[in-house]
Amino acid sequence: MKKLSLANLDAFFAKIADKQALYMPIENKAGQLQFQRWTEGAKLSVGCNTVRSAKDFFFPQTENLVDFKVKGKEIEIIDSRTEKEDFVIFGVRACDVRSFAILDKVFLSNPVDTYYKSRREHGTIISLACTHPEETCFCRTFGIDATQPEGDVASWITEDAVYFQPQSDKGQKLLEKCGALLEEADESPVLRQKQQTKTYLDKLPLATLSTKHFENKDQLEVFNSEKWAELSEACLGCGTCTFVCPTCQCYDIRDFDTGKGIKRFRCWDSCMYSDFTKMAGGQPRLTQLERFRQRFMHKLVYFPINNDGEFGCVGCGRCLKKCPISMNIVKVMKTLEGEEK
């Protein structure tokens, strides 16, 4: 384990930012956390957690995929990708790091999404252990340890130092570059912090929330539950939950005629929207009940069926915090489970 004195934190950031773009949670004008590019003088925020998740780095809200130029009978295809730079994200929490593994299962399985893949390859993740989880956190439900986050490098911030543990070759290399600022350290302060954080995690209101009810579940039984009606009745279909969610991964691809050619772009979509998967025959889910049900069926039933039991949620709590009507995956899980008792 390596140690960096807190007094040298800015020097450490400067060292990384010298060679590649460095992003981290920084408070924005609205007083909320947002991943922003670090520049001299910017201040890392250690609060929990950013409004937008870290998925944006690999799966941006909008991106241009390809341009077409049509001349007579010829079509020229232009790769419009621009991002070729390496970058580092500092301060990704355990829940968000796990979300990358979930997105990988979607975008890196065949056929591989090369846009996503290239961003993943260019990015190095320095995760940060949590010390003050929020009442809305329930990462433990999905087997995530907030005190020992995954990522290329894991880090812990104590009162006077940052501790680093490389967890991949990429992470090892990054730390080597900053070698002069780091010293070998004994891990006991980290162990003490982990102990302390665990006592908070044990006390969280959602500490005992379990996915048991949904394990190896008959999909139709969940699908046909009568509870969906009341769960979805107040839903505005705004899609806020899907846009702040680190694991929501649906997108739309459209062509746009610029007058000089065609731009094919991809943008986030939401199963909560009335025009989601709209085809010639219309949108297959006609009511908000069906759209709402889709979001949770996907996370709690379909995704695990297709991915060795892994759920499509990491318990980050963003949808709990941001839904205008305070309806969310926890209420869905508890209501569907309660129905059986």
Partner: protein, 324 residues
Amino acid sequence: MQRIMAEKAKELLQNGTVNRVLGWKKGEFVYDITPAVFNNTEEIDAEFVYDDFCANNLSKYLIKESRKEGKVLVFLKPCDTYSFNQLLKEHRIWRDHVYAVGIPCDGKIDLDCLKKQDIQGIVGIETQNDNFIIHTLYGDHTIAKEDALAERCLNCKSKKHVIYDELIGRDGEVLDSHRFDMVEKIEAMTPDERFAFWRGEFSRCIRCNACRNVCPACSCENCVFDNPKSGIANKAAADSFEENMFHIIRAFHVAGRCTDCGECSRVCPQNIPLHLLNRKFIKDINEFYGTYQAGEDTESRAPLNIYNTEDVEPSIVYKKGGNH
């Protein structure tokens, strides 16, 4: 209050005046209230709630609810009655399918105000005189009520219920609020400063559409921005400026109909002060056409829907110092 309201709801259900109740339902924590329809007295007993967190304006749900069979009871706070009235004026709600009960409101807590004061891990809240005691995983905090209330509540425009079938408690007055103070500050900026201010605020928008979907004035069946056939469907904006225009167009569309209920700013996950845009329109309408409050009544003609010879000339923009 919650008890009185629950009794009222049960009484009206039992005597057959209504067959459903639109209210608020408690959640997992102290603050995560969800709007809900209650179908019988058992459901009321089990989950009905009315407290400092019941911020959601229920009026818009009546567009759908009032089209159903039978009569629905709705609880309306003073500001919600303006939205209800405005929707009636626009013929969006079937009045005879609604039984409206006016309820008092002392302002609602804005969770973001607490978070801004570094209060996190909230597990309980108690009221003590003019303070809230907030229990968290990391200890207790005492904060003054005015430091916890939503901006729209601190600048409440009216404690009067403009429409109801029945009122619980005494009615209040239209208030002299400071709601245009910030608009004046923005008006006093130079055009460049103002441009930078809004570009900065809107730069955070994730275009989740929460502001539009919650808005009682945004009641189109299919928004042009969602309609691929409209030619301006806006799933992805070409650039950030086009993105910003969405908000300006929306503000124009609700101008003269926006009651300043403040729901748009409440729900915005990025805390964009959308209300300032709407208040600018309200303030301009007041200055150009005489004071007008959308939702105050159901009969008057809205200033932007009529023409009379005293209306301001477009040149007013130049007189006011606009140069763009």
